[in-house]
């Protein structure tokens, strides 16, 4: 009886430790919830950002687009074309070296987790952020394919 309780206690402690120390799953290795082109994604946001925000909430997105900026701090920007909207992808620590594999102007496919958006709009003077255009944010990303 005493051994049983001790064994159960050990198992609970091991389970707790495993839960506590478990690393964040690698989004790049997971199956994507949404496969989309950057142009289509930004167009969706420009039509109805609140609704699309709900749709993409906590989803793993595989997005194809043209690289417009590469930052050594571990992020990449995909442009959508003429409307100035952009998709900003923060790379996972495990995929930081992917910034070395892409250059500006290149078509690339990234996979990352959707985290939110900044709405663009008419520059209202006191709202500096709105002057930047719509920005879609993804994190924990990595490169799937470069062309």
């Amino acid at each position: 009886m005493g051994y049983g309780i001790a064994l159960m206690f050990i198992l609970v402690v091991l389970w707790g430790y495993r839960m506590f120390s478990q690393k964040v799953p690698d989004v790049v290795q997971a199956r994507p919830d949404v496969v989309i082109h950057a142009t289509e994604m930004t167009r969706d946001f420009n039509v109805n950002s609140a609704e699309v925000n709900q749709k993409y909430g906590n989803k793993i997105i595989r997005v194809t687009g043209t690289v417009t900026q590469v930052n050594q701090s571990g992020s990449v920007i995909l442009g959508s074309g003429s409307d100035g909207s952009e998709i900003v992808i923060g790379l996972d620590q495990r995929h930081q070296q992917d910034v070395q594999k892409v250059t500006v102007g290149m078509q690339a496919v990234f996979q990352a987790l959707y985290t939110g958006y900044e709405a663009g709009g008419v520059d209202k003077g006191d709202d500096l952020l709105s002057s930047l255009g719509a920005t879609i944010h993804l994190r924990s990303g990595g490169l799937i394919k470069e062309n």
Partner: protein
């Protein structure tokens, strides 16, 4: 004719000197880190998709941080941060709106490191508090590099630490901001 040349030259000189101050500088890939020293384990996260804009003429500055954009190493920490602490579904963004206290001290056309103070309001977890943060602004190669480190009290923003871990998680978090700002065209 000589007077015309003089005034024309003066106009061009003034225009050239003030050109830097007409611009807005921005980034969409700013980095915000937070660090909290705790007896059980230090808590650390980074967000490298921070949006920020600085208007050189007015000295006004704004930045927005998506709370779900913070990446942790441990899955449980990430979950607790979003669900129990900052409630990121309910309060998805933190926004700072403020201004440089001494915008005249920065020569945007002269390379160098300038010590600045940014004063404004930070809205986090639905609570807005005034904040005054010292930092540096480095002017060089047509870009600005902004850096600042400051401490926040979680209780100031109604972020409650669950009673079970109250003595294991610090109420004070250190925030480090790193913004590589480029000129905003158009």
């Amino acid at each position: 004719m000589r007077y015309l040349k003089f005034w024309l030259s003066l106009f061009i000189l003034i225009a050239a000197l003030t050109a830097g101050a007409q611009e807005r500088f921005y980034t969409k890939t700013g980095v915000v880190r937070f660090y909290s020293k705790a007896p059980l384990e230090n808590i650390e996260a980074v967000n490298n998709t921070v949006t920020a804009v600085l208007d050189a003429a007015s000295g006004n500055m704004q930045f927005a941080v998506q709370m779900k954009g913070f990446a942790f190493e441990k899955a449980l920490m990430q979950q607790h941060f979003n669900e129990n602490y900052v409630e990121s579904d309910k309060f998805p963004r933190a926004v700072f709106k403020g201004a440089l206290t001494d915008k005249e001290a920065i020569a945007y056309n002269k390379e160098g490191v300038y010590h600045v103070v940014v004063k404004g309001a930070l809205t986090l977890h639905g609570v807005t508090k005034q904040l005054e943060v010292p930092g540096t602004l480095q002017v060089g190669s047509g870009r600005l590099l902004g850096k600042a480190t400051f401490a926040l009290q979680l209780s100031d923003y109604n972020i409650a630490i669950p009673a079970l871990v109250k003595d294991k998680v610090s109420n004070t978090v250190t925030i480090t901001v790193h913004l590589d700002l480029q000129p905003l065209k158009g």
